[in-house]
């Protein structure tokens, strides 16, 4: 016996199986990101006064990425609509753009991540704090070269808009360094949350893109055999993609703007 309602909807629920399945899965994803958002709120609300950084991320890159994902959401649903109207080539076109958007998003994300890993906070023996981006070409065994400045206080480090852009090159003799740490997840609670939330989100972008690609590429022959089943698969993968966009819509202001 065939499994019923794999393609045609069941009359009393009005749903085909995969539609219900994906929404159930998305419900679990709401709880996953919900748990993470709750953790973010909790850790932020209970943080010490002045310990939470602001404007440590490039708003324009973040905004661009937001545009990229929104755009890809539009192309994904246009792709599905094309299939509904029987226009396979159009679907291929739109979905191809979706995949390009996914790559763009991940590309911009990696640029942002690298920026953080190159950004160092250096504590010197004389009590000063140097803060800036490592210049690997000029750095030697004896001297650390940063493009940055000396911060007057820890509080100054927390306000990102005070630096970034046109900073001088500082040379720091390594024997003057007490400790140095880059802005990786270990740096403080904010970076920990930033990397975890955006990292998990990026994994979902990768996963979604792989599924969309698989349906678009190797599995495209199903369109010939069973167009309704194929359209359903595209719809279901599109729902996942929209969810990924939805999460970013909240991540962007929460991490970049507030």
């Amino acid at each position: 016996m065939e499994i019923p309602y794999a393609v045609k909807p069941r009359p009393d629920t009005g749903l085909y199986n995969a539609k219900l399945g994906i929404w159930l899965f998305l419900a679990s994803e709401v709880m996953l990101f919900g748990g993470l958002f709750s953790s973010y709120i909790l850790l932020r609300v209970n943080a010490e006064e002045g310990a939470w950084p602001h404007h440590w991320l490039n708003i324009w890159l973040g905004m661009t990425n937001t545009f990229v994902l929104i755009f890809s959401s539009v192309t994904v649903v246009l792709g599905w609509a094309s299939l509904k109207m029987g226009q396979f080539k159009r679907y291929k076109f739109f979905q191809g753009i979706t995949l390009l958007c996914a790559l763009t998003f991940l590309g911009i994300k990696s640029v942002e991540y690298r920026d953080k890993f190159m950004h160092y906070e250096v504590h010197l023996k004389d009590g000063r704090i140097a803060d800036g981006h490592l210049q690997p070409a000029e750095t030697t065994d004896k001297t650390l070269v940063l493009e940055g400045r000396f911060a007057a206080s820890h509080a100054e480090l927390m306000e990102g808009s005070l630096h970034h852009g046109g900073e001088p090159v500082i040379e720091i003799p390594r024997d003057q360094i007490v400790s140095m740490e880059n802005y990786g997840p270990w740096h403080n609670t904010y970076t920990a949350l930033y990397f975890t939330l955006t990292g998990l989100h990026a994994l979902h972008v990768v996963g979604g893109a792989i599924v969309i690609f698989a349906i678009w590429g190797p599995l495209a022959k199903v369109w010939e055999q069973d167009p309704e089943r194929y359209t359903n698969r595209v719809e279901v993968s599109g729902l996942f993609w929209h969810f990924v966009d939805l999460i970013w819509i909240f991540l962007f202001p929460v991490l970049y703007l507030l």
């Binding site: 709401v30 709750s38 010490e48 109207m85 029987g86 729902l239 929209h242 966009d245 703007l257």
Partner: protein, 117 residues
């Protein structure tokens, strides 16, 4: 293979009504897409304004984000015309998510003997 001979074209393209429906749909998607882009610009612009209290910035950013979220969920994910079963699943999910968030926050907001920093 031209689109006109593709499998469901026989069912779809021949029907003017569903083509019209399709065009309406696409129009809706494009309008929502533009609205989302505008919403993004507004979010950034609003965050740069100093309202005096941080709470207002936060509330505004979340309000705009929620509106964008509703647009994506309602129109792109077709939630606005979904079936009862899906609404039921999502209602319970929302309730439990809010319970997790608020109960955890309330339990750690006051009454703490040990400073949890």
């Amino acid at each position: 293979m031209s689109d006109l001979h593709s499998p469901s074209a026989a069912a779809g393209a021949a029907d003017d009504h569903s083509i019209e429906q399709g065009r309406k749909r696409i129009r809706t998607y494009l309008i929502v897409g533009v609205a989302l882009m505008c919403g993004t610009v507004m979010t950034v612009w609003a965050s740069l304004i100093n309202f005096g209290s941080r709470e207002i910035n936060i509330a505004l950013a979340l309000f705009i984000a929620s509106t964008k979220g509703f647009l994506v969920a309602g129109f792109f994910m077709h939630l606005i015309s979904e079936k009862k079963m899906i609404y039921a699943v999502l209602s319970f999910t929302t309730f439990f998510f809010l319970a997790l968030m608020y109960l955890t926050l309330f339990s750690m907001a006051h009454g703490n003997i040990v400073h949890i920093r």
